[in-house]
Symmetry: C2
Subunit: 217 residues, 2 copies
């Protein structure tokens, strides 16, 4: 099964025509905080809503509580973001989930975006690392642990970036505009502005976590 | 001396009233690529312009070359972003620089933003780590190496975040809404949504690099 998670980032950074095309996105929806309120407004009933809803009014919270089969209002939430809390419930309620597309996780506050990027490094979320996808108007972000991979070029994206989030060993980029041969990285770095040369692209590495971004201007 | 660097990120993410108030920002300006073209349009003559200017037309490039005392057009630029290239020239031409405010380094392409965040970890830019400041509409970002520090609350910002970009030892947050006592972190993490309790805030750590973000919704 596939799930979609809407968190509370700025609407202006959501993918182009997101609201008008939301019904066509496959899979059930989960709303984190303000994301749950927005999903209801846009005609989507989340299967799960999680958050302290401190930015919503009473009517909105009541609507979320009534509409969602499972609504976790005002959870005990120390040291965890709304996104992480929603993912924690997703892991608990849908252990068989195959893919989680995350929307609304970027834009405006960069401390929140970085929390939404670095959460994959927490041992608690290791089961999700290869399954989550962060999508906004200009970027599609996926995460990889050591291994050999083939990427498929997204039609609307021009650039490709390999971003070690930890120390990484023996990164090899085989068939991109800029290639690499078993290079080590000791600290986080963004190898940005690379490009596909064909429809697919191959890379491999031995140790660490890499985030791959396909993006456009 | 202080310098300001404008790089080519989206104008919509620049600080509020940036263009109308740009003349009041103290210090000389450096323009990276499209940033140099914009500075000229906004009535600022950069002391230094660097970039391959692949997004500018001939007239714009000629204007930059004519207006700037030092214009580095089409430099040899492998494995380095426009921001990094500009900072490399800043280090070379202004070794005595005390502060570099960077604008236009955020928004839209997240691989570019992450390159503009992680560059401080490259040994080449170590001399700048405590001197650069990345500023946009919602965030002010500074970088710290091991030590004891006092932060001053920015009037317009509500949130405070401590973001280890590397493994960090013994992070202590003394007088924030959420405190910590000598905690270690093994990988990058964003400790977001903390807040000042007074006008200043104190923190210390033993090893690693931390980025501190003051932000607002």
């Amino acid at each position: 099964m596939e799930l979609n998670l809407l968190v509370g980032g700025p609407v202006s950074d959501l993918p182009v025509d997101f609201i008008s095309k939301i019904q066509a996105i496959p899979g059930d929806w989960v709303g984190a905080d303000r994301g749950a309120v927005r999903l209801l407004k846009w005609g989507i009933k989340p299967v799960l809503a999680v958050g302290d809803f401190d930015s919503a009014n009473e009517t909105e919270v009541a609507a979320v509580a009534q509409a969602c089969p499972k609504a976790v209002i005002n959870p005990d939430k120390v040291d965890v973001t709304d996104t992480e809390l929603a993912l924690r419930y997703i892991l608990k309620e849908y252990p068989q989930v195959r893919k989680v597309r995350i929307f609304g996780a970027t834009g405006a506050r960069l401390d929140q975006f970085l929390a939404n990027l670095f959460f994959v490094l927490k041992p608690e979320f290791a089961p999700l690392i290869n399954k989550v996808e962060i999508i906004d108007k200009w970027n599609q972000i996926q995460f990889y642990t050591a291994g050999e991979y083939e990427l498929e070029k997204m039609a609307q994206m021009q650039y490709l970036a390999f971003i070690p989030l930890t120390a990484v060993q023996e990164l090899t980029l085989k068939d991109q505009k800029y290639t690499l041969e078993r290079q080590d990285f000791a600290y986080p770095i963004s190898l940005s502005s690379n490009e596909f040369v064909g429809q697919t692209s191959h890379f491999s590495f031995k140790k660490g976590v890499i985030c791959v971004v396909q993006s456009r201007d």
